[in-house]
Subunit: 300 residues, 2 copies
């Protein structure tokens, strides 16, 4: 039997990390967007062997345990200790790892949902398990709870599923442009000096967004956050300015990856495509994902 | 401009009411199912008149303010006081009012989402507004937060959106059979002597379901709850027993309406249809609604 789980990619627009010794109480405040592309996890469970084996593969390539620590930790917790057989967890990512699309959380949450569907449990327990191992292994702080909420989201109270609180913005007809250019280490940024600026600017942005909760405002605040923290500068900032010439809401930086994103009105899609093709940078145009993550038997 | 919101019908399987002076802290514990049919709210906003007018219609028929107290209360709060124009709220219900399908909450939440989409706000504020007026006017305690969660849900912490907590069960391939036979006044049941039995049996059922969180277990516990509280008896209980002869999970009573519901495996749908047609009772077979309520511009 093959189980499939889908978890949307999640882009953070701005954020305030909230660390805590209890990983379920750690999380982030901020805002972001869930995308119609993301992470697909396929789970295959076969009995009949004498031992309990768990295998993980990224994009079709088996990876070692220490290259998939979060997924293995989730699986160790959710596959019963007395189970004997082969558990294969195949994760496919629509965007590259480390580029700020929440792949780590997508893999963790998709794995937790698929395993719980197969071995028992509930959505909340699965989601909390994914969040805990994300936090413990510094995969991320707010992606899991944001992915569960869908849509354009505001994390108004920090914490994992069941503790944190996520609100959603109303919006109309926006497509999401993403320009994924490279990696940025979440861990290095959070351990660096920029963290103070992130906390100050992120808190201000959240307060302003809650006073005027609209996606247009979110993009203005995201861009201010990105520039004022110094995370968006140099060539990436120049690229954002080029892009802004043909769209009505400011583009901003993917937190945290070397890349940009923007909300496009339908009539702006062509112009944005043209300028990015001219500049020869990779890009994609996707929808906002409005629902909850999906899990079920795969009969593809 | 026409805005449409859809909110799934919600059937409660068993429950424990939790009253509180603060309506946002009032709510219920329990479990239930969200359906692919429910309440559609169409909102039309026209400016150009000199006064602020709010009109509500049920199934195409305009209703007076005192027949739609909850919807009017929600609208009074969410339509800005300085707005001048005509606000028309057209609510269409797939199931009859008062039969235990959460129509009251569906109308309140659909109205709140459509008005917030149109006039500004966030999902959480809209949902809290709907919940507050539901509680104040005794429309219901747990429907709004259950409808926001979708799927087969367990209310594990009582309270409105942002305060209460809802978990979801994993399940495969179930259809939902509903047999709507008549009204039952939530208010009369909650004000009566049966409330003590409801609290005792509902708490036990929740504890047992959390120990074995599966939809099959939920139906067994729902039936025990319905019989032990004395709410399910007489002809309705006889009908449930007839139905049980052709399906594998026990049917149970819609809380609170004069009606039954059951989870059907795909191969059981025909047998259930046949027996109910023979018995000449009204019924419908629908899907579990997995997503979040929907709101957007209507271009039907």
């Amino acid at each position: 039997m093959l189980i499939r789980a889908f978890v949307p990619a999640h882009i953070t627009a701005f954020f305030v990390p909230r660390f805590h010794d209890d990983p379920l109480k750690a999380g982030s405040l901020g805002a972001g967007v869930n995308l119609s592309k993301g992470t697909n996890v396929f789970l295959s469970v076969e009995t009949g062997t004498l031992e309990r084996h768990i295998h993980v593969a990224f994009n079709g390539e088996p990876v070692k345990k220490d290259e998939a620590v979060i997924s293995h930790s989730v699986a160790e917790e959710l596959v019963p200790m007395d189970f004997t057989g082969e558990v294969e967890i195949w994760q496919y990512f629509d965007f590259p790892n480390g580029y700020g699309f929440g792949n780590s959380a997508g893999g963790a949450l998709g794995t937790a949902l698929a395993l719980s569907y197969s071995f028992g449990g509930t959505w909340l327990r699965a989601a909390q398990t994914a969040h805990r191992h994300e936090v413990i292994n510094k995969g991320g702080l707010g992606d899991v709870i944001a992915q569960l909420a869908g849509g354009i989201e505001i994390r108004v109270k920090a914490g994992g599923p069941g503790i944190g609180l996520v609100d959603n913005l109303f919006f109309e007809d926006y497509k999401v442009l993403v320009v994924p250019l490279g990696r940025l280490s979440t861990k290095e940024v959070l351990d660096g000096d920029v963290i103070k600026a992130i906390e100050a600017e992120g808190s201000k942005a959240l307060e302003k967004l809650l006073a005027e909760p609209k996606p247009e405002r979110m993009m203005i605040l995201a861009r201010e956050f990105a520039e004022r923290t110094g995370l968006l500068d140099g060539e990436l900032l120049e690229l954002a300015r080029e892009l802004d010439k043909v769209i009505s809401n400011p583009s901003s930086m993917i937190m945290l990856g070397r890349g940009l994103f923007a909300l496009l009105k339908p009539e702006e899609v062509e112009k944005a495509r043209d300028i990015l093709a001219d500049l020869e940078v990779p890009f994609d145009v996707v929808d906002v994902f409005m629902g909850k993550p999906e899990v079920g038997r795969w009969v593809g």
